[in-house]
Amino acid sequence: MDNDIKIGVYFCTCEGEIEKVIDVDSSAKEASEWSGITAVHKDAFLCSNDAIRKIRDDVKEFGLDRILIAACSPFFKVEEFSDLGINKYFVERVNMREQCSRVHSNDPENAAKKAKAMLKIFLEKVKNSKSLQPVKIPVSKSALVIGGGVAGINASIDIAETGNEVLLIEKNLFLGGKAAELHRYFPRMCPPSCGMELMFSKIKNNTNVHVLTSAEIDTIGGSPGNFEVLIKTSPRHVDMDKCTLCGKCLQLCPQNAIIYPEGFSYPDIPAINRKLCAAECNKCAEICPVDAIDLYEEAKMSNVKAGAIILATGWEPFDPAPITEFGYGRLENVVTNIEFERIAKEQKTFFDEPKKAAFIQCVGSRDERHLPYCSDVCCMVSIRQALFIKEANPDSSVYIFYNDIRTPGEYEELYRKARKTGIIFVKGIPSELRQDEPQKINFSAFDTVAGERLDITTDIVILATGMKPPEGTPDLKDKIGITLNRNNFIESHLQCYPQDTQREGIFSAGCCRAPMDVSRSIESAGTAAIKTLQFFNNRTEIIPDHPAVNTLKCDVCKRCIEECPFKAYSFDEKGFPKSDIMKCRRCGVCMGGCPLAAISLGDISIEQLSEMIDAIDKSYLGDDEPIILGFLCKNDAYRAADDAGLKGIKYPPNFLGIMVPCAGTVNGAIIAKAISTGVDGILIAGCSDNQCHYVQGSALAKVRLTDISNKLKEMYLEPERVRFVSINRDESEKFAETIEGYVKELKEMGRNPLRI
């Protein structure tokens, strides 16, 4: 095959930028003598329209199969070189400017030698490349939203209003979630019913939204774009279509088993709590004039197809009972903030007389033994609730015992208002609550600012309890295969893709991701909805560059299945592992981990890397100079190396860099091959552990390299010949220093005895 393919090599002098260091003419002359090279051309601006036209003409004239472009970094001028008249996977870029001429301008002689070595390596790469054509995969453009709270409702509306179908499922009888239970929203102090009603009317009026209440996920199968979801719906016992809300059943029921919708509810149809029903009682079903009640209705299972899933499972209040010193559940008048919200909403008499009230902040939150994180909203909630008391009755005395008051952004106004109103803020958390006289709570707190102890007796103590993920989250994790962080919130790459879970096509919105207030929940719902729509649009045509398993080599050890950070692998019908084109994010961690080197990414294969290593002239700088082969991660290290070029930071020309998607892509077999053919040092450069975009690529690379250096030790070779270094995007100086230091070390070590 090698003899038949026609390759064109195109050099750019970059208006002298490259040429002033490397003699491009002689490189071109030399290259034209290599086998398979059909066309060689040099241009001052290879990215100019004329030059591109010339390449395209050459493709037609000579029938070129492959193109090698020796110019700037592959991250520059991407668009210009994207369409040269052949499949873009048959075009390879040699980074002649950023990683050769500019960094070795002080050593033109060796720079030319390195340039030649680089050309040979990438010539071998392009020779062995495969053409990849986008494939069409039908994506079901309907979304499933799990959780009918503020986040879920808003995400559903956002998606539906762009013309896509949405199924919103809620495990409770009515939509609204926790926000519907609130008395007032901050900072504007409007009742939630106002905003909720608007949302509900949007749901009612939009035919794209379908709502299922008292429904839960049973199983999720299929793959992104085409999830198959089995939903279990518990019986409501009232037919939603028939019921007219006449209320006859409600007046009749002796057991109060009819759950009647409150002022603003969706759906505004009652339900029957069968647990409260008296045996054999059938009165409501008999009286119902429209025959809407079926007391023997059973749970239903339904199958749904969904292209993408948004998780908006919300939160649960922390139960403060385990913090025994606060006496929650034991002492009267010690309530949580959620309970106080209900008092504020329903027991108006509470505010008739002036009260003495105390709020205790950070109950459970920021506590190593309970919720290690800050629950984000409790400060604002307590201030708001304190204002209810103070504003209803200015003679009330209200204390807030805090650790730190956190009212970020505009909420500071709320804090200032509270201070002005006369609410007393004490820095110092009480240690225990007592009840020395009935209906009163006694406690002492140390005011750390005043340096004095306060003894206080109040009518009520409100514990500002935080948010925790719902009980069912781990269960959901098992069903969907998402990952959770150490606090059981849904994990994401918070900085770059907060709305993405670690599974393709599954997004998260609202408090299931992290504690947040209503406004941020709505925002997060918006981003999740946008991401869902993007997913629908982008996934219709996909380049099949996902890893393929060589089934002739594979012995089904299942390591790829275990290590894949995105759980993209499953078994095919013959029992071999197979990556799902929709789930895969092309990190190549499987390719790096495969003990038999049987897995290859579409655009960079094990065979290709192996041929490239063979093509390295190990003595390109002479017999005494060590050479380093570097595998640079695409996101960070390769770009840091490019930066070094842009800044003109110098490092020795002993280094040859190859770009890989992730540090985890590099297979041990490739490293072994490089060492055994005489490469003196291997450098794998990736991001720091916690910054890896592919979750654990760098960490795995490190572990694998340790294994290899142990093996080198057994072979009486220096274990330092392979090393991992973490280079962040902005650490170009560190990159140059690393190479300089490594070359020095390798010189001391002496040349690789395996070099011929």
């Binding site: 820095k427 240690s431 707190a445 005011d447 750390t448």
Partner: protein, 146 residues
């Protein structure tokens, strides 16, 4: 060594919420003993100052603060260590010296007041105890085993 031990006890995690001082029974009786303040000073590196604070010796080691600390700071242990360090560096309150001598001499923490005993109709105690010597002997044996 001292700072190493303190690090281990998560001293640096203290948020100064004051829950330790709020719940401290000694603080209730004597406001000068403020565990959170001692922790703050130790954390700031003002150890020399802390060693000379008399109230350091008032802790009864009831462990309430350690039990309730939201950050899991081992407050009692830290104060314990600080006392040991103070003792080593010679910052010993007078009372502690008396207590030590009494303990070594008689095996009791409090000196015996025979006049009071007489008033109460109790016989006088004169003999010296060898409890301390015994304790030291046991300690030496243990040390050898370890």
């Amino acid at each position: 060594m001292y700072s190493y031990l303190l690090d281990k006890e998560k001293l640096k995690c203290c948020y100064q919420c004051g829950k330790c001082s709020s719940g401290c029974d000694i603080n209730r009786l004597d406001g000068s003993f403020q565990p959170h303040r001692l922790l703050h000073l130790i954390g700031m590196g003002a150890t020399d100052k802390v060693l000379k604070i008399d109230s350091l010796w008032k802790c009864t080691t009831c462990f309430t603060c350690s039990e309730r600390c939201p950050q899991g700071v081992k407050i009692t242990e830290i104060l314990w260590l600080t006392r040991a360090f103070a003792f080593k560096s010679g910052c010993i309150p007078e009372l502690a010296v008396i207590q030590r001598d009494t303990l070594l001499k008689s095996g009791r923490l409090m000196p015996v007041d025979n006049k009071k005993r007489e008033k109460a109709g109790l016989p006088a105690i004169t003999e010296e105890s060898d409890v301390a010597a015994q304790i030291f002997k046991i300690a030496e044996e243990k040390e050898q085993i370890l």
